[in-house]
Each structure stands twice: as structure tokens, then as C-alpha cells.
Symmetry: C2
Subunit: 410 residues, 2 copies
Amino acid sequence: MLTKKKEGKQDLDQLLSNAACCSQPSAIREICKLINRPGMRSLAGGWPDPNVFPGKEIAAIAKGLLEMNAGVVLQYGTTEGLLELRAQLTDWAREKEFIQCAQDDILITHGSAQAMDLACRILLDPGDVVLVELPTYFGGVGAIRSCGAEAVGVKLDQHGLDPDDLEVQLKQLNKQRRRVKGVYVIPNFQNPTGATLSLERRKRLLALADQYHFIILEDDPYSDLRFEGEKIPSLRALDQSERVIHMRSFSKIFTPGMRLGWVTAKTDFIRKMVVAKQFVDCATNTLSQYILLEFIRGGRLAERIIGNNKHYRAKRDFMLSQMEKHFPKAATWNRPQGGFFIFVHLPEHLNADQLLLEAIERNVAFVAGSSFFINGQGRNTLRLSYSQASPSEIEAAIAEIGLLIKKKLT
Amino acid sequence: MLTKKKEGKQDLDQLLSNAACCSQPSAIREICKLINRPGMRSLAGGWPDPNVFPGKEIAAIAKGLLEMNAGVVLQYGTTEGLLELRAQLTDWAREKEFIQCAQDDILITHGSAQAMDLACRILLDPGDVVLVELPTYFGGVGAIRSCGAEAVGVKLDQHGLDPDDLEVQLKQLNKQRRRVKGVYVIPNFQNPTGATLSLERRKRLLALADQYHFIILEDDPYSDLRFEGEKIPSLRALDQSERVIHMRSFSKIFTPGMRLGWVTAKTDFIRKMVVAKQFVDCATNTLSQYILLEFIRGGRLAERIIGNNKHYRAKRDFMLSQMEKHFPKAATWNRPQGGFFIFVHLPEHLNADQLLLEAIERNVAFVAGSSFFINGQGRNTLRLSYSQASPSEIEAAIAEIGLLIKKKLT
């Protein structure tokens, strides 16, 4: 019973689905193994700073819930998510986002990643096209591809997705009779570039969605992480024809380990996503939802967001100051108004993939920008994250990266 | 910004995927809305009894973890799941299940439902066939169908899936050149029938899997809920050719609200499932995993299982005694050795769907057996669950159902 034949291995691989045969772990994952070495100064992950996790508050909330009401907070919940939490989120959407939505227009998910997965499932068939930013978050692209759909890239600059290029792509795909189902966009403090889509471009994107009849997949985990400048209404808030599926995360403003996100969209879409979720994981973690509910009540989450943003703003400013100090003039980068990321362009002939390998040898890590381009571009770019590293790690890492770049330039 | 046009609704539906267009919420879900009425005596849900949830122990564990180590237990984890938890589970598998598996052969999931979803994703393409028990859990069928695969039924009796009928189906599908990728089976205290697959049949099923070259999807949430009789080795333990994907749940033996399950399979399959999970929800809830880890350590989970089974055994015995007392001779049912379910056969001409509507009027609920048959059979069957209802609810509900059946018979 305890021995296993090893024959038949290839045989079994014949039984895999097309999606599984094609699937590859992301390049970042492979690098992560190196990055987790002890002593590594990492600017790689987009993880929040554990120093701002409200551990003690959560401990007190959890204790109260579990001692008073274990039978409820440890039981299965409904697939849609906790009714009281969805009620809080309709208020949040109305007051903070100018989005009118009812409880039935909201689904609680295991992070915004799950919202994206469910949205793709209800929208995409093999062969469909979704347009994505160049560069963009590989998780979104992965969800699109796992439905057998194709991701096609659209240019992006410091004001976000370029609607002119979008229109060019749409026309071209139309001619090729490809079915464009959606545009996947990260409008605020984009991952990896930190860019924010301007109001004008948001309106233009919505107009194009009406004209070319597609859905907008608005992936918006960072909008509450604004340190300065004025909040721009979400695509969902501006949407007049219910074409926007707005995906939100509690990972960056509360905690990622509790795996909570939410999505608002037109009722029919939410209902379809709920049915899909029934067979995906039945329901979202009940205890996490109750803890979050208590944390939102009394304005605690809103308060926490203000505090966190001061913290992250200081880290951004510190990293920018270190970059000014250590990076050569030939490198350029953005100054994001929020979020976790700074995106660096090196001179064309420099290769950031190679730079990363050399950095890792010196116990410094970042993510090579090419990981975010679906078309093989961006070899001369890198993403630096200030979210998780300590100031001393940021200082040491930026100095090392600066040295390595300078060495390449000479 | 706050008004919405309601035109274009049908237009947007054109953008839905084939899977979303075909998807329907389960009949049970619709009934659930009625069942949740206050005062309902429900034998419908397969939910565990909240009275056995270890709320205080979990509160103490959570407090310790959150006060001492919030930065870790609230942070993202790896997609595979917590390393220490997987280490505990390899021990559990070896000592309690006679399964030799390494940490890399284990994936922690958001419940066993997610394990099934991921297994289907890595195996199934549209048009593939998976054979399922008649009747079976609709969640499994839903996961199969959401990949565009077809579920085809195989007869089941008190000893579980009928291998003779399985072989007939396999031959027939072979002739039709249909690609049978797997057999989905709930071998222990099956949902809904409570039947357990005999050792002989397990061996026969594995032999057929080798001969006809398919995967066995072993859905096994109830095996630790054995009240009497001898444990039969799992298909995974008996498997000589790594064809079994063994899906386990902590919902029934720990708590469902923390959404934890695990799956063991050959390393390659697990790796493919991990890649799929990256784009499904990134990782499983970290806090839940750490709480469970502490709960397993020191043998607490094993102890708890023994205590719970005494509790559920008494409930089963009580329900059986009430059925003896109140049900007419024309009704027959099984005596499950574990799990949560008793399955009742009424005379052919009686309709349990109709019976359910009448029961609900009297504030009594169960699940009509037809919900579990993919081929429209089982109109004269019903599933009764003793897991969640209190003894007085069980007593009242069984008496009412008995009365209703008798009325139909006269």
C-alpha cells in the first residue's frame, strides 16, 4: 500500500486539460524562491507592511466574536457573503465612491484575485480577447488566459492606458473578426507603473466600451492608498451603462492573510458570479468577514487608512530620496501619488533581467519589468516596491542597485 | 453619476461566456431561502452542529497568534499553503491514512470544494466526460460542468458505486469515442445516501481506472466521521499508479467557516493545481491555517474528532429511532456508519418534491432526493440530515414528515 509504481507518469499527463498543459508558474514565483533567502533586502513583493497590521485590534475583535458567537462566526456563510458586511459596503460605495449599489450588486470574495477569476469565468470563452495594459499585473493576465482567452496589449504612459492605442487595437481586432469581450485596467497607482488613469481618459474608455461593446474589468486594489492629489472617480462611478465590474481588495488596507475582497457590478453579473462561486469554494471565510465587519463599524477602517497612508507616504518619499541620491541620471522613474510601486526606465541597451541576477548575488531583490509585459518588451525596466521593506533595507537596496546600474553604464 | 440607464441589458448578456449562460443556481439554494424562515425545523443542510465548534479553544489560539505574531499570521502566504501545516498533514496521512506523501504532494485549499474545482480545471476540457454516482453531491457535478465537461451517471447501492454498471458505461462511452477523464466518487458515508464503498469495490474501481485510463476524483469530507465499523483504506491509499486525487475537508471535523481543506495527489498534479490557484485566489487564508496548525498540534484535532463522533452518533441513533416510530413500513432507509445523512426511499408513486412543499408549509424541511440525481430519477427519495438540528427539532420534523407520508399512502 505504501509503495508506488512510477510508470505510467507520461500516460497520466495525457489526461491533463489544455489549460493545465499550457500553464506555467510565473517568472516572479521562481525568483521568489531566491528572494526568500535570509538576509535578502527585497523591493520585490507588492506585500503590505506587516508593521501596520492592526494585530491587537483584530485579536480583541476575534476574542469577542469567538467567545460570544462561535456557532455563527465559525459556520458556513452564504455564497454572496455576510449580509451585514455587504450593507456596510453599499454605504462605503455610496459615501466614499459615489457608486449607488444595492446589497445584491456586491459579492464578497477571497481577495480581489478571486473577483477577477469569477469575472473571467462568466465572461470569457476560449478564443475571446481581453485588452490589457502594457505592462500590467500578471495575475490579471493569468486569470484571462486560464479561460482560454487571449490577452492583447495596449500602450500605457504616465496618465494610464492610452485610449488612442486602444482604439487602434479595437479597430484592428474588429477587422480580424476577433471577439473583444473586455478591457482589463488597473486605474489607480497601477501595478507595476504606479500610473493613474486621468479623468478624461476614464471617460474616453467608457465611451469606447459603449461604442465597441465590451466590459471593463476595473481592478482597483490601490485606490484607498492615495497619499496626495485629488481622488478621481472610479470607472464604475462614471459608468452609465453598467459595463464596469469593479474589483476591490482588503489586502492592502486591512490585511492580506484574511483573503477578503469585494466586487460590485450590475446585479445580473453578480448573480452569475455567485453561481460560479458556489462550485469554486462555496463561500468566503466567515470568521474573516465578521472580523472585518467589526473593523469597519465605528469608522475604524477609514481611520486606519488615513494612518497607513501617512506611513506609506513617508516610505515612498524616503525611497524617492534614496533614488535621487544613488541612481544615475540615465535612469528615469515616476513619482506615484499613492500605491506601492515605482517603475524605473533604464537606457534601452541595459537589461534589467540580467541586473536582477547580479542584484540577487548581492542580496538585493526587485522585479524585472519584463515580467509585466505580455509582448516581451520592457527589458530595460524594473519595478521597485517600498511597501514592505524597512527604511534601512530600502537604503541599502537602492544604493546597491544604483551601483550596479552605474557599473553597467560605464 | 448616480443614475443608470437600464437599456442595453440584453446587449450585455451577449457578452457572457457559454458557461455563465448555461449556469443555474441549484434547486437546493432556492429552497434554502424558504428553509431559513424563523421557526423552521430543518433536516436539510449538511452543515455541522455549531454546538461542537471549539470556539473557546480557537479564541485562545487566535489571541496568542495575533498578539505574538500578527505580522506573519495576517500576511499573504504561499499558494501551496503553510509549510508547517503541510508537514503536519504528511504525518496525518502516513499515520492515520497509510498514505505516503511529501509536502509537495499536498495543497491547502479554501475547503474541499476548491480542491475539486482546481482538480477539474487541470483535467477537464469541454466535451470530456466524468462519471458520477447516481445520486451524488451537486457541488461536484457543478465543478465538472463549469469546465464544459459532461457528467454521466453510474448506479449506486448500499455498498457504493456499482463497478459493473461503471464498466458498462465505460464500454459504451468508449464505443461513442467519448473521452472519459475521470470518475468522481464520495467513498465514505456518501452524500446523499450515506453509503460506503466496500474494499472489494475500491480495488475494482482502481483496476478499472488502470484499464480504462482515467483519474479518480476521491471526494472524502466524511471519512473521519465514522461512528462504528472498521475504517476502509482510501482509494488514494490503495492506489498503485498515482491516479487518485484525494480531496479532504476540515469543515466537518474542525469548522466550515474557516474554509479549509487539503488535497493530496501525485506531485505533478499538485503543482498544476498550485499554478491554477495562483490565478484563482493567490493563497489560502493565513490566519485560518495557523489556527488549524495549532489545533492539530498536541493531538487536539484527533481528540476532538473522537468527541464529535460520539455526539453525531447519538444524533444519528436518535433520528433512526424517531424514524422507526413515525415512518410507515412502506418507507425504507439506510443506517449509515458515519457521516451526516440518512436516505429514504418512498414507494415509487410518491413524489418527494411535492412532499417537501407540504413539509415547508408545516415549517419542516429536508432535501428532495431528486436534487442529487443528474438524470431526473429519485423523485421518490429524500435526504435527511441529523447533523445540525437539535433533538427536539429532529423529533418534531420526523413526526411531521411521517404524518405527511402516511397521508399520501392512504
